[in-house]
């Protein structure tokens, strides 16, 4: 990181009066998911958006972008069906096995992140290419787990059949349930690449539209969780609570990486140096 900053400063020093300076904002929409190596999870695509501020230095074809972005993303994992079996005592004081199955479970995360992209590239004939690193940090991670719950009472041989479908006694017949929680991730450095072109507008500004992709270089799994994915909820009678798989001990030391790609709009305003000629693609002699 320090090396990248040094190089960036060096490039700024080397700038001369012919260089152009731009500031602007970015807006993007993306699709992505998180990768892991957990057996029972199946990553599903989610969506995201970010809003950011960017400074661009341009000298000739060379461009350097430094910015600050805030992003929101939702990704999720489909979880395989899970069976539960707890020894409990009912309100009459009679012990029984609280059997159950959780199906159609989906764990989703809504993340609010801040990131600092440091990108270099080139712009030729209104076509630009940017690549570099993006330092990313999760500011807030909210989780929501949805599933269907089936439970039954096995009275250890006392009764002939399982007690089923008695919701007032805690025996549910594939009832939708949900749980919510929080999650944190480690800081991340993402490899970022973007390609696109300038779009003619009536504004004295440069509007870019490009496609981008980014991928986590680091494992963002914080690890050290001790909670089970499924927990009998002691605050509610005969109910099951769920912990996000990435915030449970199931995640273990599994590497977690983000992968996303999308479309980015960038609006840049010339704030110094040679004025921006939005018709510069005419290659007219000065």
């Amino acid at each position: 990181m320090r090396k990248i900053i040094n190089i960036s400063i060096l490039l700024l020093i080397l700038a001369n009066v012919s260089a152009q300076h731009f500031v602007g904002g970015t807006l993007s929409g993306s699709a992505g998911y998180m990768t892991d190596n957990i057996d029972i999870t199946h990553s599903r695509f989610g969506g995201g958006a970010d809003l950011g501020f960017v400074y661009e230095y341009q000298r000739g074809a060379f461009i350097l972008d430094i910015g600050l972005q805030a992003s929101w993303s939702v990704v999720g994992q489909d979880i395989d069906s899970m069976d539960i079996d707890y020894n409990m005592v009912d309100t009459r004081g009679i012990p029984f096995s609280y059997l159950g199955r959780i199906t159609e479970r989906t764990d989703k995360m809504l993340r609010t992140e801040a990131s600092v992209p440091i990108l270099i590239g080139a712009e030729v004939n209104n076509v630009y290419v940017l690549g570099g690193a993006k330092v990313n940090m999760t500011l807030l991670g909210l989780t929501r787990q949805n599933a269907r719950l089936y439970t039954a009472g096995d009275y250890l041989g006392r009764y002939y059949d399982l007690f089923e479908n008695m919701p007032n006694h805690g025996f549910y017949d594939y009832t939708p349930i949900k749980s919510e929680g929080r999650i944190t991730f480690l800081p991340d450095v993402r490899l970022y690449g973007e390609i696109g072109g300038n779009v003619n507008t009536r504004l004295q500004a440069k509007l870019r539209i490009g496609l981008f992709a980014e991928y986590s270089l680091l494992n963002v799994n914080k690890g050290g969780y001790e909670a089970d994915m499924v927990i009998p909820d002691l605050s509610r009678y005969m109910y099951i609570d769920m912990t996000n798989v990435y915030a449970s001990k199931t995640v273990g030391s599994s590497p977690l990486h983000n992968l996303s790609f999308g479309v980015r709009l960038t609006m840049l305003f010339n704030v110094g140096g040679q004025s921006y000629d939005k018709n510069s693609n005419c290659h007219c002699m000065p």
């Binding site: 309100t91 004081g93 006392r158 009764y159 002939y160 006694h169 002691l234 009678y237």
Partner: protein, 898 residues
């Protein structure tokens, strides 16, 4: 050794080659023969050993082969000379390795790889057996083995096959040319003849060689006559094989007419005397080996030792004298151990020393091997070393007391110090000893004596008699110390004592083993604890006897007795009992009063059947004697008897029907309903048989009209048949088999909550295994409720039952279970962490009590209807929470805090 042989072989071949060459231009003569044959002048046969070279006509030859040279003579003529050079190999000799033996021990000197071997020195070889040599040398010997292998090469004998005729040998026989085949030769004659010409022997006699010439001779009486002799040049240190073919051609059976031929080399016989074949015309070969040693010439001789002229005709052919392979020599060293033993004694301080190669550091037996006079290290010497001790610096430490002397090695010492002397042990070894003498000062010891004497006695205190109490001291000097003795003397006086005793007349007193029966003073002498005299006096006084009187009064019933001093009384009487003791006389007077008792008073009454009679508080309705025991005013028994007679004027009962009501299986008794007219039966005898008997029913008797129930004992649900016999006046008046049903008890059902009614399993319902269910509410079948439980809001107060089917097909109803309002109390969780609160739900207002594990109340509080929270103790442990709604609605939960 091989190099040595090779060198000499080269040298000898060079000489032989020179000689041969020298003879090439000369004739050689046979002493008694006129036949002269020139040896070939232009051909040389030569033989060398492997690795050797052959020098011929100034050139060196290395390999076997035929070589030719053209030589120009002095006269200018030229001659072509040829050389046949052969290379003789060395035998692949292996000999036994060097060895060591004890003297007198025989060992085998074996060899391998050679046809012929000889051992030197031969006189130290004890015996041989087919190239196996045995030796038992007295001392170490280096044996040299010379070995050779036969090589098919050249025959050194000239005209050995007689093909050149009668030339090349000398003989003592006369030459004769036979004129008749009938007479081979005459005595002492020989001839050289063609084996195929003019002779009478069969073709088989052609024998060796199949043809050609042979020497034919007739032995005669000239002892040791030489048959054939020829001198040849030989190479030293080489084996030669001497052989010839011999045939008998005329044998006289009346004589010992076999030729006895002796083969000699340089006038030394080789091999045994050869006996010509016993079969005519059969060729047999003589063959033996000769070793040339240092000889360079060999005279080969065949002599006939048989002097009989009759018969003794023999033929000789193919005489050969052939060199063997190159000889090789090996040495075998046989060490013969020579043992010797010596003893030596040294002083310890002479150790260590060196003996031969040994370092002698301590006493012991040492063995070494040294070179003996034979020049070999074969002498085993044993040295027994005895080391006698020598002493150096031995300190004799002695201690004496001041004023004493110590005698040591002839001198007396009285002053502390070290004294050295050098002595000699009995073995002559040095003994340097030191006396360390310590002179110590005298010590003073004190002793105290405590002595007790009696008044008038004395104490001997080291010769002085002490009689007065006090403390005395004496000092006594000993050699080692001075002793100061202190005497503490105590003088004890004579003591006196008195004792007293009272006796009545006739009594005695035993005192110190003596019996005293009269008043008076009696004195005895005893000893005090110090052994001094003690005089004790007993004073006995005689006392007078007294009289004691006592009055006893007693009252008894006449069916009782009273015992007074062993006597039994049963009537009113006054008696006196006296007893006399040493101290007094006792007089006891008894006044006994006897009151009457009554029995066998019979009150006889008669009543009608069915009536009763009340007597002394009890009511009787049956005939019989009834006895009661009463009490008189004096407290005595009054036994009275009622004899009740019942007139049998009864009506005979008529039983119209008996039935047993169906019941729940968990009822303990069954109601028996009896419908009768006329009289009343007295009892019923009920019995069960078969399966019913084993299902919890036992035979029983029901007394009528007081009883009317059948008692069951854990009967299972099912259909039963009871056999009933009704009795009246001990006669069976009615008999019937009554069927009834026991329903499943209501306990097989359980109301779980206010909306669940469930059938319990076999483990919980008393052993019934159900497979089908049909639920009823107040006897009305609930359509579609055929599971093991119903889940619907229960109607409180309604009776719920089920028609249940067992595995064996038995189908019965259950007794109904009335739905009651369940106290809907919910409390969770039961496993808490510190600080966590439990949640509770009740439908009505209630209160709670929290107990700890030993039953102490920890907390109480009220609970409003609905959900509420209860705080529990913060300490880990097990607690009990009781939720009480009303007196009959409460529930208890056990919780654990951790």
């Amino acid at each position: 050794m091989k190099r040595f042989i090779a060198f000499w072989s080269i040298f000898i071949y060079s000489i032989v080659g020179f000689v041969i060459c020298a003879q090439q231009d000369t004739e050689f003569m046979i002493s008694n023969s006129v036949n002269i044959r020139k040896a070939p002048q232009n051909h040389t046969d030569a033989q060398i050993c492997e690795g050797e070279t052959y020098l011929w006509n100034g050139k060196t030859y290395y390999d076997s082969g035929e070589y030719s040279e053209t030589i120009t003579n002095q006269d200018g003529t030229t001659v072509t000379v040829t050389l046949s050079l052969s290379i003789s190999p060395f035998p692949d000799l292996t000999v036994r390795p060097d060895t060591a033996v004890e003297a007198g021990e025989e060992l085998e000197l074996w060899t391998k790889g050679a046809d012929f071997v000889s051992w030197e020195p031969a006189n130290l070889v004890t015996k041989t057996a087919e190239q196996r040599f045995f030796a038992s040398p007295a001392q170490s010997t280096l044996y040299t083995i010379t070995a050779s292998t036969k090589v098919e090469s050249r025959n050194l004998v000239y005209n050995g096959s007689f093909e050149d005729g009668n030339v090349g040998f000398t003989t003592d026989f006369m030459f004769f040319r036979p004129y008749s085949p009938e007479n081979v030769v005459f005595w002492g004659y020989y001839t050289i003849t063609d084996k195929t010409q003019g002779f009478r022997w069969p073709s088989s006699a052609l024998g060796y060689g199949g043809g050609g010439n042979m020497l034919l001779a007739d032995g005669y009486d000239y002892p040791g006559a030489t048959v054939w002799e020829q001198m040849v040049n030989v190479e030293p240190y080489t084996f030669y094989a001497f052989s010839a073919q011999v045939m008998s051609c005329y044998i006289s059976n009346s004589h010992n007419s076999y030729a006895l031929l002796q083969f000699l080399v340089n006038n030394q016989q080789i091999g045994p005397v050869f006996h010509s074949p016993s079969e005519l015309y059969e060729w047999v070969q003589f063959y033996d080996i000769w070793y040339s040693g240092e000889a360079v010439e060999a005279t080969l001789t065949i002599k006939n030792l048989n002097e009989d002229g009759v018969g003794n005709d023999f033929g000789i052919d193919d005489i050969r004298f052939e060199p063997m392979s190159c000889s090789i020599s090996e040495d075998v060293l046989v060490l013969v151990w020579q043992h010797s033993t010596a003893d030596t004694a040294v002083c310890q301080n002479q150790l260590p020393f060196t003996w031969n190669t040994k370092h002698i550091a301590e006493q012991g037996v040492y063995v070494d091997t040294i070179v003996s006079s034979t020049g070999y290290r074969d002498s085993i010497v044993t040295l027994n070393v005895t080391a006698y001790p020598s002493y150096d610096g031995i300190i004799d430490r002695q201690t004496i007391t001041e004023g004493q002397t110590y005698d040591w090695e002839g001198d007396a010492y009285s002053v502390s110090g070290y004294y050295n002397k050098k002595l000699t042990t009995i073995h002559g070894c040095d003994s340097a000893v030191t006396l360390r003498l310590d002179v110590i000062e005298k010590t003073k010891k004190t002793r105290e004596i405590i002595a007790d004497i009696c008044e008038g006695d004395g104490y001997d205190f080291y010769g002085e008699i002490m009689t007065e109490e006090g403390m005395y001291q004496k000092k006594i000097e000993y050699a080692d110390y001075d002793s100061v003795i202190t005497l503490r003397l105590f003088v004890h006086p004579v003591e006196y004592d008195d004792e007293y005793a009272n006796i009545y007349e006739g009594q005695t007193v035993t005192w110190n083993g003596e019996i005293y029966d009269a008043p008076g003073n009696y004195t005895i002498r005893q000893q005090t604890e110090y052994g001094c005299d003690k005089f004790v006096t007993l004073h006995i006084t005689l006392l007078e006897k007294t009289v004691r009187t006592r009055q006893v009064s007693a009252v008894i019933c006449d069916n009782q007795t009273y015992t007074f001093y062993g006597e039994t009384y049963n009537s009113t009487i006054t008696v006196t009992h006296e007893e006399h003791y040493a101290e007094y006389d006792s007089i006891v007077t008894l006044d006994l009063t006897v009151n009457p008792s009554y029995s066998d008073i019979i009150d006889e009454q008669t009543i009608d059947y069915g009536d009763s009679y009340t007597w002394e508080g009890d009511t009787y309705s049956k005939s019989g004697d009834y006895t009661k025991t009463l009490t008189t005013k004096d407290g005595c028994d009054s036994i009275v008897t009622l004899r009740l007679n019942v007139e049998k004027t009864y009506v005979y009962p008529l039983v119209e029907n008996i039935s047993i009501s169906n019941q729940c299986a968990d009822n303990q008794q069954l109601d028996v309903e009896l419908l009768q007219s006329g009289g009343a039966i007295e009892r019923m005898e009920i019995s069960f048989s078969g399966r019913d008997k084993g299902y919890g029913f036992a035979p029983q008797s029901i007394m009528m009209p007081q009883e009317h129930n059948i008692v069951t004992h854990s009967a299972r649900a099912g259909d039963y048949t009871a056999h009933v016999d009704c009795y009246f006046d001990n006669e069976v008046v009615y008999t019937a088999d009554i069927k009834f049903t026991l329903y499943y008890p209501s306990a097989v059902l359980e109301q779980a909550w206010n909306d669940v009614m469930v059938v319990l399993t076999q483990e919980y319902n008393g052993g019934y295994d159900f497979i089908a269910f049909q639920w009823f509410e107040d006897g009305r079948m609930l359509e579609g409720q055929t599971d093991s439980y119903i889940y619907q809001p229960l109607r409180m107060g309604a009776e719920y039952s089920a028609l249940l089917t067992e595995v064996d097909g038995t189908q019965l109803m259950t007794c109904p279970l009335v739905a009651t309002e369940q106290t809907d109390i919910t409390l969770y969780p039961t496993l808490l962490t510190k600080g966590q609160r439990v949640k509770c739900y009740v439908r009505e207002d209630a209160y709670f009590v929290v107990y700890n594990s030993i039953g102490q109340v920890i907390e109480t509080g009220n609970i409003d209807n609905g959900w509420s929270e209860i705080s529990v103790p913060q300490n880990e442990g097990i607690y009990v929470i009781k939720i009480v709604v009303s007196a009959d609605k409460e529930r208890t939960y056990k919780i654990m805090v951790r």
